[in-house]
């Protein structure tokens, strides 16, 4: 294109693309839903490891406990907790849409914010209860 080399038109995006326009919250939430689902797919390995360790015996269980209380273990558990709750709440949002409600712009926005606030809030509440159950961060 000859005109693309003129100073006025150079370096302009041809159409709004992912990197160019501000992501709407609902679109980000759509991505989060899939990413959290994929995270849970591999996260179930933690559940499997935990269950197998309980079945194998005290030594194997102690290893899991040691790993889960390490910094990496805690980060993985925190991520798993958030992904689980976020995906569950996001799933409820999808089910609401599936039965035909919540399609108005304001409703979509409220649902997206509620999912995000709910998942972060519930994760914090659960970790608070968790730390109470084991008597504070160890």
């Amino acid at each position: 294109m000859a005109e693309a080399n003129t100073p006025r038109l150079r370096n302009r995006p041809l159409s709004p693309h992912l990197q160019i326009y501000r992501l709407p919250l609902t679109m980000m939430m759509s991505g989060f839903h899939r990413i959290s689902g994929a995270g849970l797919y591999f996260g179930i390995l933690l559940v499997a490891w935990w269950l197998v360790a309980v079945a194998v015996g005290p030594n194997a269980y102690a290893t899991v406990e040691l790993f889960m209380s390490s910094l990496i273990g805690r980060a993985l558990l925190l991520g798993y907790t958030w992904a689980l709750i976020h995906h569950a709440l996001g799933g409820i949002r999808h089910l609401i849409w599936d039965i035909g409600y919540g399609f108005e712009p304001a409703e979509r926005e409220i649902l997206a914010i509620a999912t995000l606030v709910g998942s972060i809030g519930l994760t914090l509440v659960l970790w608070g209860i968790g730390y109470l159950a084991i008597g504070g961060p160890r």
Partner: protein, 132 residues
């Protein structure tokens, strides 16, 4: 190809089956929804079980996880989750992978992974419950 010439190749049987181009109709979609409805309560139950087990020693955890009601609920949570994530990952794969052989490999790996993890979890829970 015009609509008329397309219809020539489509037998009435296709319409009766109503399964569309994927040959499986809306089964995938529907199973995803049914498992997601079940998982709302099962996930809440799973979270309650895990929180109840926090800070307990191995003997207590073993006893609680192996008790009939907890074991049944855990088996339901694991089984439903595995089926749900098998469907979900397959959807992710067919959305993003367009190379036939790689797609075949990943879709199969998904199945093997899900069955392996599911059987492992199920075996562990049953072992705790039956105490062998």
């Amino acid at each position: 190809m015009s609509a008329a010439s397309k219809q020539k190749f489509r037998t009435p049987l296709r319409g009766v089956h109503g399964l569309g181009a994927g040959h499986s109709g809306t089964g995938h979609f529907w199973h995803q929804r049914v498992t997601s409805v079940a998982l709302i309560s099962l996930t809440a139950i799973f979270v309650v079980i895990v929180v109840a087990l926090l800070g307990r020693n191995h003997a207590e955890v073993k006893q609680i996880l192996g008790s009939p009601l907890v074991a049944i609920l855990m088996l339901l949570f694991i089984g439903t989750s595995i089926y749900h994530m098998w469907l979900g990952m397959q959807e992710i794969i067919v959305d993003y992978v367009h190379q036939d052989l790689l797609k075949l490999y990943l879709v199969m790996s998904n199945t093997f992974f899900c069955i392996f993890v599911g059987v492992t979890c199920g075996f562990a829970i049953l072992k705790l419950s039956f105490g062998v």
